[in-house]
């Protein structure tokens, strides 16, 4: 029996101890009319050899592509050490560190993670992660509404990732929170300030500020932060953690800095992996810490005075506060954070800076080359980080399909989310792309447009 160690002798001895005649008898409290017969739709078991072959075949069927898609999930080099350590049994198969004395490995690592993320974002404190970037933004919105008390209106630019906006809606929909979307300037690709000013005439709890925004474009984060604060609202930053090696962190935006920073942690050592598991990060200023959802680790001492780590501020959490908790969340993305912490340790500030700078430079180089092709233009005139939108003389699908047939994923198209960007393509070239890759892309692109 796969994964069940019981011998026949064991079963007999155990039943004898229980005083039952059969395992079946142990289910005698389940009413007979509810009992399940044989399971349908579940195939017979495979041996590990068989499933290994099946999975290898399916993996090969999917193959490898040279990827220029970003749009919220980014391909970066991940040191081999990261996942070899992360998948050690002691990290991989341990539970939430409720028993602190038997969990110092995970707890200390999470404390180190909190320190790194707080510093990277320029904030005071960090939680131990949330599910992903999109749901982290939803939690930030809920947190801002709890903190603000008098308004539950949130201003959210349409330059925020469209799926993040959808996820926020799904999560907050039943809490009478009003999400007010602010359009973007079709020339700059930035949040439209006039419309923002107008929306801000009614009281609101928070403004969401993406940096870089979904189009890769930089927003005027200092002005936006100060403006939100001038309206007695919170500033919620949505940031790419790699970019923070180069960019002013949210904690330093404007006069006082953003109040909450969230984002997708995936670029910090998590494989693309068809979308998950990733992790969302959340950091904030000190006064908001008791409104923060999710697990938080604190440093303390044992009864002999030795330094150690524990889960703390649990009075916020559902297992203590139940219906009065800050959130229903009861897990973090522990293993992903383990990887991210090791990843950040291996890269350090210099390594992370180089990754950011090379990703930026690569995309810049690529966009320069592509916009030399007649008819290809930048959709927006603003500077960008490591992703940019191009407007094409043909439907983007022509380019997509053509490059795909050459093993290249050309970028992200906007079909559902921004109908006005129909002939546009968003391209991202991280540090994983070498000059030959960029040349290949440009040549294929040129050919695709020519035919």
């Amino acid at each position: 029996m796969p994964f069940i160690p019981h011998t026949e002798e064991d079963v007999s001895a155990m039943l004898a101890s229980i005083g039952a005649n059969s395992i079946e008898e142990l289910f005698d409290e389940i009413p007979a009319e509810l009992r399940t017969g044989t399971l349908k739709n579940v195939p017979p078991r495979m041996s590990e050899m068989e499933i290994a072959r099946l999975m290898l075949e399916r993996a090969q069927q999917d193959g490898f592509y040279l990827n220029f898609i970003g749009a919220g999930a980014y391909e970066h080099h991940i040191p081999a050490a990261v996942w070899q350590i992360t998948t050690r049994g002691e990290f991989y198969s341990s539970y939430t560190p409720y028993q602190a004395e038997a969990s110092q490995g995970t707890l200390q690592l999470l404390y180190e993670y909190q320190t790194m993320m707080a510093s990277l974002t320029g904030m005071d404190v960090s939680n131990a992660s949330l599910y992903d970037g999109a749901s982290a933004l939803a939690e930030a919105v809920l947190m801002a509404v709890r903190q603000h008390r008098t308004s539950s209106r949130i201003l959210i630019p349409q330059t925020v990732h469209p799926i993040y906006r959808k996820v926020v809606r799904t999560i907050v929909r039943n809490q009478s929170i009003e999400m007010v979307e602010i359009p973007y300037d079709p020339v700059s690709g930035q949040t439209m300030l006039a419309q923002l000013e107008e929306a801000g005439q009614t009281e609101f709890a928070a403004l969401v500020i993406p940096q870089p925004n979904f189009f890769g474009v930089f927003e005027s984060v200092d002005a936006l932060t100060d403006w939100a604060h001038s309206k007695n609202a919170l500033a919620i930053a949505v940031v790419n953690p790699i970019s923070l090696a180069m960019l002013t962190p949210p904690g330093e935006w404007g006069e006082k800095g953003a109040d909450i920073a969230v984002g997708e942690g995936q670029p910090l050592g998590i494989p693309l992996s068809s979308g998950g598991p990733y992790f969302g990060f959340m950091t904030c200023k000190q006064p908001l810490v008791r409104q923060m959802p999710g697990r938080i680790i604190g440093r303390t001492t044992d009864i002999e005075g030795k330094e150690g780590f524990v889960l703390t501020l649990q009075a916020r959490e559902q297992h203590i506060r139940r219906s009065k908790a800050t959130s229903n969340i009861c897990t973090n993305q522990g293993l992903m954070v383990t990887a991210a912490t090791i990843h950040m340790s291996l890269l350090g500030p210099e390594g992370l800076y180089r990754v950011a700078a090379q990703s930026h430079a690569n995309t810049l180089t690529l966009i320069e080359a592509l916009t030399r092709i007649p008819g290809v233009k930048k959709a927006f005139d603003s500077p960008f980080f490591h992703e940019a939108v191009l407007s094409l003389p043909k439907p983007a699908s022509v380019v997509l399909d053509n490059l795909k047939s050459h093993g290249v994923l050309a970028g992200y198209t906007f079909d559902d989310n921004y109908r006005e960007l129909d002939n546009c393509l968003m391209v991202c070239a991280t540090e994983t792309k070498v000059p030959a890759d960029l040349d290949k892309y440009v040549e294929l692109f040129r050919q695709a447009l020519a035919c």
Binding site: T115, H161, Y164, G275, P277, R322
Partner: protein, 482 residues
């Protein structure tokens, strides 16, 4: 020693970043960061050494027995890890075209079908990233259902007092008022209280079955009739599905919506606290509201169903499709077990729990619900011990750590005083259970002979008992260079 204390300015790993600092850029100066973030500047070897040593300070399934009630700590097959991490799976971008991911999508589709099969639900969405998110999805669908019918007076969710804290927290997050109902002496929901609680305001009932008390709610069919008759829907918290897998299906018990914790019943790793994954299954009437994306198989190919295909969907819960890598692990696990293996999970989990109950009872421990079968878990109460000796359930739990066993869940469910919720899971052998019983017996003797020693536990761990009160009163949440 923290990783930051190994750090020295200027040290870095040349192999792990681009060979040069790219200088080409067009970022406005005012946007450029002025300060260096506090990331460690340590060598690759020292990083490997630091985190390898840290890992050794953890208990884990791969090193210890973990009889942690309500958590289903069982073996996480190593093949699930290595096969889910094949490089092609890892490198696939979530927004890559569907025709470049047919292998992956086939796994997801088949997992949906298998989960439907084992739960008796009409459809499954894989998107939820944890049990609590599964709950939010479920209650949001219940709300969407009532709203679609214009039935807007339903403002209450009924929840037994034994429920996980996530249940009431979720109900509140979904805009509902929580009506708590008590448990009777046998550990079942108090039926009179339920009858009194239901009414025109009832949106639904959230139930864990078997409950967190480790017993099967025998009157679940009647509860279903009562709630449905009042116009409410039934939510099944799948936290304890491992206890009844293949024995009774939530769909057959009358539930309208369920979540399944893959990191419990389907053995995906707990990872020190996540990632989880909790696919949601629905009965026919909630079908339109299922969150997207969902995998469909049409014309010989797999594709994602989106909002366009499912206009009444409550929407999306994650930026992409949930915890794909966790789902792959669960898929591999169910294929390794197959239909027969699904039945065996609950059989041997239940056998292990009832055996451990019997042996601990013989050893002199008090069982909280002595007249009941254990499901896959059961409760020992040490109130008698505390009254007599002052040794608490937590003291006993910490002393177990000294004996190289993880502690059971303590002080949950809250309605049983000084409780230990014990769940051995099906992958543990009789010898391991026997050695756990021996450790418990030894502690009983120690409580008699050296109660202060037990109160001071743990003694043999890297650290003694940690001061949680200090941690909460004077929060030290990030390190600062001194």
């Amino acid at each position: 020693m923290l990783i930051f204390e190994h750090s020295r300015p200027g040290r870095y790993n040349y192999s792990q970043s681009p060979a040069t600092r790219a200088t080409k850029h067009n970022i406005p100066d005012k946007l450029l960061r002025q300060s260096k973030p506090l990331l460690p500047e340590v060598s690759e070897m020292d990083t490997v050494r630091h985190y390898t040593r840290l890992s050794q300070k953890n208990f884990s399934i791969d090193t210890q027995f973990y009889p942690l009630g309500s958590c289903t700590m069982k073996y996480n097959p190593r093949a699930c890890n290595s096969l889910a991490m094949l490089p092609q799976f890892l490198s696939r971008h979530p927004l890559a075209p569907e025709d470049t991911g047919q292998g992956f999508l086939a796994c997801m589709y088949e997992l949906q079908e298998i989960l439907k099969g084992v739960t008796g639900m009409a459809a499954v969405s894989l998107t939820s990233m944890a049990g609590a998110q599964g709950e939010l999805i479920g209650v949001t669908m219940i709300r969407a259902y009532h709203e679609a019918r214009g039935d807007t007076a339903r403002t209450e969710i009924i929840i037994p007092d034994a429920a996980h804290g996530t249940n009431p927290a979720t109900a509140v997050m979904s805009g509902y008022k929580v009506v708590e109902i008590p448990t009777d002496e046998e550990g079942d929901v108090d039926m009179a209280a339920l009858k009194a609680a239901v009414g025109p305001k009832t949106a639904g009932l959230m139930l864990t079955n078997p409950s967190t008390l480790g017993v099967f709610e025998k009157k679940v069919a009647e509860m279903s009739r009562i709630v449905h008759a009042a116009g409410g829907l039934l939510y099944y918290d799948g936290a304890n599905l491992n206890a009844v897998l293949g024995k009774v299906k939530p769909g057959d018990m009358g539930f309208d919506v369920i979540h399944m914790n893959l990191h419990k019943t389907f053995s995906t790793p707990h990872g020190g606290g996540g990632p989880g994954s909790a696919p949601v299954g629905v009965a026919e009437r909630l079908l339109p509201y299922l969150p997207v994306p969902i995998v469909a198989y049409e014309n010989g190919a797999y594709r994602w169903l989106t909002e366009k295909d499912r206009p009444q969907s409550i929407g999306r819960l994650s930026a992409h499709m949930g915890n794909a890598g966790v789902l792959l692990r669960a898929y591999i696990y169910v294929r390794l077990l197959g239909a027969e293996g699904m039945h065996r999970i609950s059989e041997y989990a239940t056998l292990n729990a009832n055996y451990l109950l019997a042996e601990l009872r013989k050893a002199g421990f008090e069982i909280a619900y002595p007249t009941r079968r254990a499901s896959h878990e059961f409760i020992v109460t040490t109130k008698g011990i505390k009254d007599k000796t002052g040794v608490t359930a937590m003291n006993l739990a910490k002393r177990l750590l000294d004996k190289n066993f993880h502690a059971p869940t303590t002080y949950f469910p809250m309605l049983v005083p000084e409780c230990l919720l014990i769940e051995p899971a099906e992958t543990e052998s009789k010898e391991t259970l026997d050695s756990f019983v021996n450790a418990m017996k030894e502690i009983l003797v120690e409580i008699e002979t050296q109660p202060d020693m037990v109160k001071g536990a743990p003694h043999l761990m890297p650290l003694r008992k940690l001061d949680e009160v200090k941690a909460a009163r004077e929060p030290d949440l990030t390190w600062t260079p001194t």
